[in-house]
Amino acid sequence: MDTDPKDSKETKQLTTGEEDRKSLVTRVKEGTSALKDRAVDEAKEYKDPQETQLWKSIFRVSHDRSDPRNRSLAILSNVFLHLHPAKINRDAVRYPFTWGMGGITFYLFIVLTFTGVLLMFYYHPTKADAFRDILYLEHDVPFGKLLRNMHRWAAHLMVITTWLHMFRVVLTGSYKRPREFNWCVGVVLLVLTLLLSFTGYLLPDDQLGFWAVTVGTNMARATPMLGSEGPFGPQLGLTAYNDVRFGLLGGSIVDSNALLRSYIWHCIGIPLVASIFMAVHFWRIRKDGGISGPAPIVLESEMKAVKKK
């Protein structure tokens, strides 16, 4: 049929008999555009994610950039951030003062926990499996090599940053009153960090770890009064089978029990203790009045006289 498109339209309208009623297509079109407008309007609101219900439910307050109260609440009402005070000394955020070293050390501890847990999925602390598991990690596990490397290098880095952190604390005299005790907590953390490294060294069960731990625990044999070859050890009845080294290794040589003990200390014992000490460390920073500085300098002439009690 040869019909004019205009005609057919008119015909359609005529047949429906209702001139003002819009066609289905138009209605759909209009509906869509209204929906679109609404969506755009709502999306504009989502542009500020902090105003969303989801955000507010998680963070409990909006982090309005300009409102001081909200900025404080952003810190105070967050379980992770409330480790911080809401406000700090304006110069304390200058990088050259703390070097961020304590914070970086803590972050490395988190990285180590994360990669460590992943490694635990692939590692059995037994003489038969340990070394093979490392080979498996290196060659077959997707990203296994990267995982192992990251755990290793983060551990080395943590030793370095802990030292640098301590060095900074020394240089700024931050161990002085009232932070003496927190310094002591720090010393314990340093030792725990070193012990974590040491216990981890044995776990691949290769020559490197085996001999390092052999040399290391041989020193324990010489502990005064606790080791079988230490001063006063033999006099107290200690032998290679009941001294402190035996207790550390679970045997008289570095073998399967030593591997298991290292593993448990490394993955459970020491991290647990270290976490507790870290919690105390951070808590004490707050209780001692926050970071020590940069404090106003005190002059020699203002040194208070010695208090005689």
């Binding site: 404080s72 810190i75 911080h84 809401a86 406000k87 700090i88 304390a92 955020v93 050259p96 070097w99 961020g100 914070g103 972050y107 990285v111 070394f131 490392i134 990267l146 192992r148 490397n149 990251m150 755990h151 290098w153 983060a154 080395h156 640098l164 060095f167 900074r168 020394v170 240089l171 700024t172 161990y175 002085k176 009153r177 932070r179 003496e180 310094w183 010393v187 070193l194 040491f198 290769d206 020559q207 490197l208 770890g209 085996f210 001999w211 040399v215 290391g216 020193m219 010489a222 040589i253 570095v254 500085g293 940069p294 106003p296 300098i297 002059l299 020699e300 002439s301 208070k304 010695v306």
Partner: protein, 375 residues
């Protein structure tokens, strides 16, 4: 003398030493093998990190010290000054919000550390040796680098001292430090001038630790034998143990025979003479060491000069001029604080380098030999 000591002469001398050393290196490959061992890379990194952060700290300390000097000289200014080198204007808030000013720095730091770790882990593989084999001794068998200080100490002391007593003393000594440092100044800001002695002591400990680690890493080869950096590690090298005990050395010396000290070697009652001899030597060491630290603690180096005669009074005023400031600090120090400090200073900070020199330069094994322990 002072005129010639500046950064250029120091740099020059260092360069000459490095050049002399480089000429004498026989085996660059050996050096490369040691420093490129993956587990040693962190030390190489530390060789850059430690100077960098030392510089960063000292730079701030120098700036603060300049301000301190200025304010000490100008009491009026010290009344109004805000007492920091960081800029400050009236009207500025003294505190700022942690969100976002601190949190964003922390976030940035985690990103940077993560990136560094990824790059490091992609480019460098963690070492893995052959499976553990108790029948095949690794030679040299080295602990991870951060324990090499301890392992190196085994050369100078018996295992119970190097492995147990010294680490414990270092730990307890570190914990005791805040309680024996009676200087109230320099709390929360970088300064060299107000904390001269404390920083010297920490510095000495820090440097010793680093030196031991460097010796343990770069110098000790197979059989824990001393190979200079650049010398080839000879796996067949044997060093004959020439070390002898101090009392034997005294007996054998011409002075010993002139003074008739040969009886020290006699062995009635389990070597009671040896025992008393060693006890005297060690006690003497503690006394001399304590005097040394006392001098270091109180002296004013700026006032020190060459004595004009050998009369005791002249010697005393020339070599032991007292620093007024340190004198004030000493007055604040309780006897317990003083003695605690002296104990740790002499038995760790001094004993370690002294024993190192005695062993390496004078081949002395023990200074105090008893039936129960040897020192």
């Amino acid at each position: 003398m002072r005129r010639f000591v500046n950064k250029w002469t120091i740099l020059g001398v260092c360069l000459v030493i490095v050049a002399l050393w480089a000429i004498n290196v026989q085996d660059w490959h050996q050096l490369w093998v040691i420093s490129s061992t993956p587990d040693n890379i962190p030390i190489v990194a530390m060789l850059a990190l430690v100077p960098f952060f030392t510089w960063m700290g000292i730079r701030q300390a120098v700036a603060n010290d300049r301000l301190i000097e200025q304010l000490e000289a100008d009491p009026k200014l010290s009344k109004t000054h805000h007492r920091k080198v960081e800029p400050w204007r009236p009207g500025w808030a003294r505190e700022i919000h942690v969100w976002p000013y601190l949190v964003r720095i922390e976030f940035l730091a985690t990103v940077i550390v993560t990136v560094v770790l990824f790059i490091w882990s992609i480019t460098l593989n963690a070492p893995l040796e052959e499976p553990a084999n108790p029948n095949l001794t690794m030679n040299p068998s080295k602990a991870p680098w951060y324990f090499l200080g301890l392992q190196e100490m085994l050369v100078y002391f018996d295992p119970w001292i190097a492995g147990v007593v010294m680490p414990s003393l270092i730990m307890v000594g570190l914990m005791a430090f805040p309680y024996v440092d009676s200087n109230p100044l320099g709390n929360g800001y970088y300064t060299l001038r107000q904390r001269r002695f404390a920083l010297w002591m920490f510095g000495a400990g820090f440097v010793q630790w680093i030196v031991l680690i460097v010796i343990g890493t770069f110098i000790r080869g197979p059989g824990w034998i001393w190979f200079w950096p650049g010398q080839t590690w000879d796996h067949n090298a044997v060093v004959f143990d020439k070390n002898i005990d101090l009392h034997d050395m005294v007996i054998a010396s011409s002075m010993g025979s002139t003074l008739g000290l040969g009886f020290l070697g006699n062995e009635p009652y389990y070597g009671i003479y040896k025992f008393i001899f060693g006890l005297i030597v060690v006690t003497g060491f503690f006394i001399v060491g304590a005097l040394f630290f006392h001098w270091l603690m109180t002296v004013d180096f700026k006032k020190m000069r060459m004595p004009r005669s050998l009369r005791p009074r002249e010697l005393h005023s020339a070599l032991f001029p007292k620093s007024e400031f340190e004198q004030k600090i000493l007055q604040r120090t309780s006897l317990l604080q003083y003695l605690t400090f002296q104990f740790f200073a002499v038995s760790v900070l001094l004993a370690l380098p002294v024993k190192l020199v005695l062993r390496l330069a004078f081949t002395i094994k023990y200074v105090w030999v008893t039936p129960w322990f040897n020192i």
